[in-house]
């Protein structure tokens, strides 16, 4: 077995008919869910120690939190907590991914997610490959899937994929021999962000032991419809029992979001006194159809009007419960959706989120690579 991540794969790709086979064998709605049947684990020669990750016959992917059951979520969060505790105590993590190559395949810009994944992989002893893909490679000549296949062919066990198209990670997973971790796909999901948000909320609100969020109220404020962070948070938090509200103008928080299992509110001031956590979302100008990236959006008439309704100012912060926390996935538009005094204030767990990102991603990488410590 020369290549980690390829050897045990069930079924092969047959040259030019790969696309055809993939499409034809697809079953609507069932493909690529993270809850898919746990793979049969086969031993690879280098990894006969029980502390090492082994290569699965069918790769496991982390594509979305939608549909992930409570048991799996809990398992991931407990493992992340364990990593956090160890790090706190100054201990090194177990080298569960030694011998595994993790490639960061980022088709879209990112700083913290990318760094966080690299850090997580390093901590676990994996080799880390940074693949500099640009959006311009995603064209008819070099499709996203071609790029992914080429990187995979180099012997990569885990592909961490960030792309601007919703569904990109799932698409790559459909004929991948490597495990795929979705590091954000368009407006769809950002599952490891969801995990780190849950971990942070659990720590800050005293729920690390139980992981029971059933009396917890989370307000997601702002541009939820464009937000993969919001979708993952809605699915993850509600699975653990939380009540999730999206708050924003109709163009950013349409009623249709309620089909995801949250409620939609318009009046932030009315909601704030009752919530345990506020997740402020960045206004994503780049997803509103204006490629110029100018600080203007067709969804809102002006920033000053948006701020009147939805910015988290010190005044608003003072309406919150004493115990309530403020989160933001970053990058922040300071002075737009959140004021500096709040972002850097006592309730803010924003840096804790960044720190927890590493632990959540360590757990995620171990889970997809079927490390025995987490893959029951």
């Amino acid at each position: 077995m020369a290549q980690v991540g390829r050897s045990g794969r069930a079924g092969g790709r047959a040259g030019g008919s790969a696309v055809r086979n993939r499409k034809m064998s697809k079953k609507v709605g069932s493909g690529g869910k993270p809850t898919r049947t746990a793979s049969e684990v086969v031993e690879s020669p280098q990894a006969n120690s029980s502390t090492r990750a082994v290569v699965a016959a069918t790769p496991r992917h982390l594509l979305q939190l939608e549909g992930m059951d409570r048991v799996t979520l809990t398992r991931l969060l407990r493992r992340a907590t364990m990593h956090a505790t160890k790090a706190e105590a100054g201990e090194n993590a177990e080298q569960t991914l030694s011998g595994v190559t993790v490639a960061n395949l980022f088709f879209e810009d990112s700083t913290r997610t990318r760094t966080s994944f690299s850090m997580a992989a390093f901590n676990l002893g994996a080799r880390v490959l940074e693949f500099g893909a640009t959006t311009s490679s995603v064209s008819k000549g070099e499709t996203l899937i071609d790029t992914a296949r080429n990187v995979e062919a180099m012997g990569v066990g885990v592909l961490v994929v960030r792309a601007k198209q919703s569904g990109a990670a799932e698409m790559i997973s459909k004929d991948a021999g490597a495990s795929i971790v979705n590091a954000g796909d368009g407006r769809h999901e950002h599952p490891t962000q969801g995990l780190l948000d849950m971990l942070t909320a659990a720590q800050a609100l005293g729920r690390v032991e139980t992981l029971d969020f059933s009396d917890l109220r989370l307000a997601i404020v702002g541009d939820a419809v464009s937000s993969r962070v919001a979708r993952s948070a809605i699915h993850g938090f509600t699975t653990l029992g939380a009540k999730v509200m999206c708050i924003g103008p109709s163009a950013m928080a349409p009623k249709s979001l309620e089909t995801l299992g949250c409620t939609v509110e318009r009046d932030l001031d009315a909601v704030l006194p009752d919530v345990d956590a506020v997740m402020m979302l960045r206004v994503q100008f780049e997803r509103h159809g204006d490629a110029s990236g100018a600080k203007a959006s067709p969804l809102i008439p002006s920033i000053r009007e948006y701020r009147v309704g939805y910015a988290l100012t010190p005044d608003r912060e003072s309406m919150m419960k004493p115990s309530a926390i403020v989160m933001h996935p970053g990058p922040m538009n300071r002075g737009l959706e959140i004021d500096a005094a709040v972002a850097d204030g006592e309730r803010s767990v924003i840096l804790q989120q960044a720190r927890n990102g590493v632990f959540a991603r360590m757990a995620a990488l171990e889970w997809v690579a079927a490390a025995p410590q987490i893959a029951k």
């Binding site: 499409k23 609507v28 919703s166 799932e170 407006r187 089909t259």
Partner: protein, 454 residues
């Protein structure tokens, strides 16, 4: 009986002959020779007079429906400009395999079919193709919605309708001028109803699935407001205004009301909108990406009802070939559209006959005389079975059970979400001007020494 040479004659015996134009639905025999229908024999005495000895080929039509050749008023044959997806020749082959003897190709080619010269080019390319191919010409230059094309010259060159299909004529002022021009030259205008500013970046129906998948939504209202606008305009103009590939229940209602008011408007249904809904896009299945999009069960049912009560008078596949590479792009970047010709009849059977919306004679009308009238092909004798008329005939096995596979798709592309679907009903012979262009007759074929394309 008119004289004919025995050598090229074909006799179809004992088929259920359905010709909606003459309200014929009887068991009988059909004799074809010299490219024309020579005899339609229904009564015992007529049938007795026919001797197999006079023809070269005898087809046992028992259990089959003999229909006027099917006409598809809405296909994309991609030539010129996108020959890697489809050509007029390959598209005509797919059409014949699907039972169609005539198709009307849309002008969203490169360059667009917006001059008489280009319409003649398309006509030339159709020479020798497996079915008749007529061109629908662009209504505005380059399909940009800004300047009128030469509608009279286009009509003289053979265009059978005007449309900017693929793009909607967004300006109401321009739309009024287009409708007036269409009325003046007697061509139907075929609208792709899609308000552009509401559908920028839209990839699928705006609903629960698009919300969950994080894909841009295409709301029903973007179709409805264009149709509402256009019927208001046309109330004062009186052109033949035709709404292509209706996707929304509300559009059916707008057309129903307009027709009641006496406005000249017809509607078209595509097979996929009659049998599928937006859930087909689950898992980012780009093969299910189509424009206008698959919507909800309520829309699908409303569309079937609109066919049943005569609001929708024409069926069109919107056959839209794309290469495998293009359809393998991420959902948002993959192009819209399905190939539809080869599977159309079976999907119409599923959506309209099996659901009880219409009976066979009405389904045949929707596929023959009605589209013939829309495109003026009835003036050439197409869309009906009449003695002395062109022998464009489709035999359909209404009960054949089959599963759609890539082998059944004989055009250049295979992009359809219906691969693997179990189907009922299939054309078994396609005859164009007396020539067999496609057949799957097997033992029904009793002939000597004639080689037919299969």
């Amino acid at each position: 009986m008119p004289s004919h040479t025995a050598s090229d004659g074909v006799l179809i015996t004992g088929a259920r002959i359905i010709d909606p134009a003459s309200k014929l639905d009887k068991i009988g025999d059909v004799v074809v020779a010299g490219g024309l229908i020579r005899q339609i024999a229904i009564s015992k005495s007529e049938r007795k007079q026919i001797s197999p000895g006079e023809v070269a080929m005898v087809i046992d039509g028992e259990g089959l429906i003999a229909s006027p050749g099917l006409i598809d008023p809405h296909v994309h044959l991609r030539e010129p400009g996108f020959e890697y997806k489809e050509t007029i020749e390959s598209g005509a082959r797919a059409a014949a395999a699907g039972g169609f003897t005539a198709v009307c190709c849309m002008p969203n080619t490169s360059p667009a079919l917006d001059t008489p010269e280009l319409v003649r080019f398309a006509k030339d390319r159709a020479d020798g193709a497996a079915c008749r191919v007529f061109a629908v010409a662009a209504a505005t230059k380059g399909r940009k919605g800004e300047e009128l094309t030469e509608s009279r010259l286009l009509a003289m060159a053979g265009a059978v309708g005007l449309s900017d299909d693929g793009d909607c004529i967004a300006s109401a002022g321009m739309m009024g001028r287009v409708l007036s021009a269409c009325r003046d030259v007697g061509l139907a205008f075929m609208q792709h109803a899609q308000e552009p500013t509401m559908t920028k970046g839209a990839a699928m129906h705006a609903g629960t699935v698009s919300t969950r998948l994080g894909l841009g939504g295409w709301p029903r209202a973007a179709e409805e407001i264009i149709v509402e606008r256009d019927v208001r305009l046309n109330a004062g103009i009186g052109a033949h205004y035709h709404v292509q590939h209706i996707s929304s229940a509300g559009t059916c209602e707008i057309i129903r009301r307009a027709r009641r008011e006496g406005i000249n408007v017809t509607g078209e249904a595509s097979p996929h909108h009659l049998v599928a809904t937006h859930e087909m896009c689950e898992g980012y299945n780009a093969l299910a990406k189509v424009n206008p999009p698959l919507r909800e069960t309520s829309d699908m049912k409303a569309l079937r009802e609109a066919v049943a009560d005569g609001v929708v008078t024409v069926l069109g596949t919107d056959h839209a070939p794309h290469s495998a590479d293009e359809k393998a792009l991420p959902f948002e970047e993959a192009p819209f559209g399905f190939v539809g010709l080869e599977s159309a009849v079976a999907l119409y059977v599923e959506g309209l006959i099996a659901s009880g919306a219409v009976d066979w004679p009405r389904l045949i009308a929707l596929l023959t005389i009605e589209p013939a009238k829309l495109c003026g092909l009835d003036r050439m004798g197409l869309g009906r079975l009449v003695v002395g008329g062109p022998a464009d005939i489709t035999l359909i096995d209404p009960d054949e059970q089959w599963t759609l596979t890539r082998d059944d798709l004989v055009g250049q592309s295979w992009n359809t979400p219906f691969l693997g679907r179990e189907l009922i009903g299939r054309p078994s012979l396609t005859m164009v001007a007396g020539r067999v262009q496609h057949q799957r007759l097997g033992e029904r074929l009793g002939s000597a020494g004639i080689v037919f394309p299969s």
